[in-house]
C-alpha cells in the first residue's frame, strides 16, 4: 500500500499535464459512442454502467485512498434518490413538492453528503475490518427503516413516476441526452477524485490510511480527515443516486437493500481500487455480464457467475482487473524490460 502512495506525483502538479494519447482516445470513444450504439446499448449498457461506476467511484475514494471499505454507499445514494422523489415530482400523490431541478439536485446531493458524513462519524470510531461490519449494519438498518416507515418513505412501495428534468428543450431521459448527462457527471466526479487524490487533503488521507499513528503525532486530525472523506464520497454517491432515480423513474427499499450494497463493493473490487478508472471498468464488466448472463448460464444463475468472477479476482489479483492488467503488461513487453524496477510491481502479490 505504501508503495502506491510513493508512485503518486507530488501535490500541486497539474492534472492536464498527465493527459496523453490514451486518455484523448478514450474520451473521443466515449463521446462518439452514441453514433454507433443502439438505444439499448446507449441506455442499458452505457448510461447504466456510468451510474454504477459513479457509485463505485464513491467507494473507491473511501477504500482506495482512505482505507475504509464502506458498504453504506448505496444508502447515501438512496437518501439522495428519496430526496429527489419527495421534494421533486412523483405520481404517488405523496409529498412531491415539485421543486425545480436546479434547486433539487444541489439539495439532494447536500443531504447525501451530510448523511454520509454522519455515517462516517459513527463508523470511524472503529478501524479496519470493523468498518465493513458497521457500515453493513447501517445500510441494513436504513433498508428496514425505509421498508417499515410509511410516514416518510412510503414503505414497501416507495415512490414511482419520478421524471428526469426537461430543460433547454431537451428531455434528459431520452437515450442520447441521458447518456451524455451521465457521461458529464461521471467525468466530473472522476476528475474531482483524481484532483482530490493529489491535493493536500488527498495526500493526508492516504498517509492516514498508511499510518494513522504517525499522522496523529504529526498533528493531523485523523478523524476529521476520515469524516471529510466520507462527506466527499457522499457528494459523489449523491450524484449517482440522483442519476439512478432518473434512470429508474422510481425508488423503493429494494433499491437500497443488502444485495445492492454488496453490488457496489463487488464492482469496485472487480475493477480495482488503485485508480479512479477502476470502478468504471468494473461497472462495464459487471453490467455486461449481467446483461449477457442469460446466454452463458441462464438468467437464473447470474449471481453464481458474478460471485465466482468476484472470488477469482480476489484470489488472483487484489487490485482487480486494473491490477491484472498491470501484472500482464510486463510480460507483453520485451523480455529485457521485465527486469526493470517498474516491472517488479506486478510480481508483488
Amino acid at each position: 500500500m505504501s508503495e502506491a502512495a510513493l508512485e503518486r506525483p507530488a501535490a500541486g502538479r497539474n492534472i492536464l499535464s498527465d493527459i496523453g494519447v490514451r486518455q484523448v482516445l478514450l474520451a473521443l470513444a466515449l463521446l462518439l459512442y452514441p453514433a454507433v450504439a443502439s438505444d439499448f446499448f446507449l441506455t442499458q449498457i452505457g448510461a447504466y454502467s456510468l451510474i454504477w461506476g459513479v457509485l463505485a467511484l464513491s467507494l473507491m475514494l473511501l477504500a482506495g485512498y482512505g482505507g475504509m471499505v464502506s458498504l453504506a454507499q448505496i444508502t447515501t445514494a438512496g437518501v439522495a434518490a428519496y430526496v429527489v422523489a419527495i421534494f421533486g415530482t412523483n405520481n404517488m400523490n405523496i409529498y412531491g413538492f415539485g421543486w425545480p431541478w436546479w434547486v433539487l439536485v444541489p439539495f439532494a446531493v447536500t443531504v447525501a453528503a451530510i448523511v454520509s458524513a454522519v455515517i462516517g462519524a459513527i463508523s470511524v470510531r472503529t478501524e479496519g475490518i470493523y468498518t465493513i461490519m458497521i457500515t453493513l449494519a447501517i445500510a441494513a438498518a436504513f433498508f428496514y427503516f425505509a421498508q417499515q416507515n410509511y410516514a416518510l418513505f412510503n414503505g414497501h412501495s416507495g415512490f414511482a413516476g419520478i421524471p428526469a428534468p426537461h430543460f433547454w428543450g431537451v428531455n434528459w431521459r431520452d437515450p442520447v441526452p441521458f447518456y451524455y448527462l451521465c457521461l458529464f457527471v461521471a467525468a466530473l466526479c472522476y476528475a474531482a477524485v483524481l484532483y482530490c487524490s493529489r491535493s493536500t487533503f488527498g495526500l493526508a488521507l492516504q498517509a492516514t490510511r498508511d499510518n494513522p499513528r504517525r499522522m496523529r503525532a504529526l498533528g493531523f486530525h485523523v478523524v476529521a480527515h476520515k469524516v471529510a472523506a466520507y462527506g466527499l464520497s457522499g457528494i459523489i454517491a449523491g450524484f449517482g443516486g440522483v442519476l439512478a432515480v432518473w434512470f429508474n423513474g422510481r425508488i423503493s427499499p429494494g433499491t437500497v437493500d443488502f444485495g445492492q450494497a454488496i453490488d457496489v463493493l463487488v464492482i469496485a473490487i472487480i475493477g480495482g481500487l488503485r485508480h479512479p478508472i477502476g470502478p468504471f471498468i468494473g461497472a462495464v464488466f459487471v453490467v455486461l455480464i449481467q446483461t449477457f448472463a442469460i446466454d452463458i448460464v441462464g438468467a437464473e444463475r447470474y449471481n453464481t457467475l458474478i460471485g465466482l468472477v468476484f472470488l477469482v479476482i480476489v484470489f488472483v489479483s487484489p487490485d482487480g482487473l486494473l491490477g491484472l492488467w498491470q501484472q500482464i503488461k510486463p510480460h507483453l513487453a520485451q523480455k529485457s524490460l521485465r527486469s526493470m524496477p517498474s516491472g517488479g510491481n506486478g510480481k508483488s502479490n
Binding site: 470493523y130 438498518a141 427503516f145 454488496i262 447470474y302 487484489p318
Partner: protein
C-alpha cells in the same frame, strides 16, 4: 483482569457473585411490578399481556441470536476473520436439517447432521481458503462475501424460493402453561434452553479445557501461542469448525422454531453483526448480552412502535459505539 481470571479457583469470584446478586435484585423488582401490575402501567405499556409476551419473545429470539452470533464471535476473536458467509452457513444448516428430518423422521438426527455437516464445511473452508489468505483480513472478508453470494444463489437453485418448516417431535410441539405468560409454544422454550446449554458449554470449553486455553491464548497473542509450540493452524481449524457447526446447529433450531426461506441468511448475518458490535468482538459473554439487548429491542419495538422498531436496534448500536467502541465486553486491541 486476566490476572484475576487466572487465579480464579473453580468457585465464583467476588465480581461474579455481585453480578448474580444484582441480577436477582432486578428480577425481584421486575416480579413485583408484573405480579401487582398497577393501573398506570396500562397507559404506558398497552396491557400486561402485550408487555410480558414481548419480553418473553424477545428473550427467546435472543437465544436464537446468541446461537448464531456465538460462532461468529468465536471465529472473529481468534482469527480476525469477519465471516460474511456466516448467514449462509446458518441457512445451509437449516436446509440440511430439514432434509434429514423429513427423510428419516428423527429431529435429533437432523440437528446432529446440521452441526456435523457444517462443521466439516467450515473445516474445509479454513484449510483450503482462509489458510491461503492468512494475515490479509480484508481479502479474507471479501472471499467470505463472494462465497455467500454464490452459496445464496446455489441454495436458491436447489431448494427454490419455498418456505419450509422443520417438523419437530410431538414432545416439542404444544403449549406449556407458565405462571405469568398465559401459554407459550414449547419449542420456543426449547430454543431458549438450548441457547443456555450451548452458552454454558462454550464457556466451560473455553475456560476449563486445554483446547479452550489455547483458544484464549490465541485471542490474546497469536504469535506467542505459536512460538510456544502449539499448532496454531490446528486450533484455527477447530475453532472454525465449531463456529460453522454452531451456525448450522442454530439453523436447524431456528428452522424448527420459525421457518426456513431464502433471505434468512442475510437476516441472521445482520443480527450476528449487530450482536457482536454491541456485545464486543470475540467474547461469548458479550454475545449473550448483545443478543439479549438486540432480541428484546426488536420484539419491544415490534409491539410498541412498529414503524420505528428498527431504529431502536440502531440506537443501541450507535450508543454502544459512542461510549465503548470495542463493544460492551470487548477488549481494546
Amino acid at each position: 483482569m486476566s490476572l484475576t481470571e487466572q487465579s480464579a479457583s473453580p468457585g465464583i469470584t467476588r465480581r461474579q457473585a455481585w453480578a448474580i446478586f444484582w441480577l436477582l435484585a432486578a428480577g425481584v423488582l421486575a416480579w413485583m411490578f408484573i405480579a401487582v401490575w398497577p393501573h398506570w402501567l396500562n397507559d404506558i405499556l398497552i396491557s400486561k399481556k402485550a408487555f410480558v409476551s414481548s419480553i418473553f419473545n424477545g428473550i427467546t429470539l435472543a437465544g436464537l441470536y446468541f446461537l448464531v452470533a456465538s460462532g461468529f464471535t468465536l471465529v472473529f476473536g481468534l482469527m480476525r476473520n469477519v465471516n460474511l458467509a456466516h448467514g449462509s452457513l446458518y441457512l445451509l444448516g437449516a436446509y440440511i436439517g430439514y432434509e434429514v428430518t423429513s427423510r428419516t423422521g428423527y429431529w435429533l438426527l437432523g440437528v446432529a447432521a446440521g452441526f456435523l455437516v457444517l462443521a466439516a464445511i467450515g473445516l474445509l473452508m479454513q484449510v483450503f481458503v482462509f489458510r491461503r489468505l492468512e494475515g490479509d483480513e480484508l481479502r479474507q472478508t471479501l472471499v467470505t462475501l463472494g462465497i455467500s453470494i454464490v452459496a445464496a444463489d446455489l441454495m436458491l437453485a436447489v431448494w427454490t424460493g419455498n418456505t419450509y418448516q422443520i417438523g419437530v417431535p410431538h414432545w416439542l410441539d404444544g403449549a406449556i402453561r407458565l405462571p405469568i405468560v398465559s401459554a407459550v409454544r414449547s419449542n420456543r422454550l426449547v430454543v431458549l434452553a438450548v441457547a443456555i446449554i450451548i452458552g454454558v458449554g462454550l464457556w466451560l470449553m473455553l475456560n476449563r479445557t486445554r483446547v479452550g486455553m489455547m483458544i484464549r491464548a490465541g485471542v490474546d497473542d497469536r504469535a506467542m501461542l505459536s512460538a510456544s509450540g502449539v499448532n496454531v493452524h490446528a486450533v484455527f481449524a477447530i475453532v472454525f469448525a465449531i463456529g460453522a457447526g454452531l451456525a448450522g446447529f442454530a439453523g436447524v433450531v431456528g428452522g424448527s422454531a420459525l421457518s426456513v426461506a431464502p433471505g434468512e441468511d442475510v437476516r441472521y448475518l445482520l443480527a450476528s453483526l449487530v450482536v457482536v458490535i454491541v456485545g464486543g468482538m470475540g467474547s461469548i459473554t458479550g454475545a449473550a448480552i448483545g443478543a439479549l439487548l438486540v432480541g428484546l429491542a426488536e420484539q419491544i419495538g415490534l409491539v410498541y412502535f412498529p414503524t420505528y422498531g428498527i431504529v431502536l436496534t440502531f440506537v443501541i448500536m450507535v450508543v454502544t459505539l459512542a461510549i465503548r467502541p470495542q463493544g460492551i465486553m470487548g477488549k481494546v486491541q
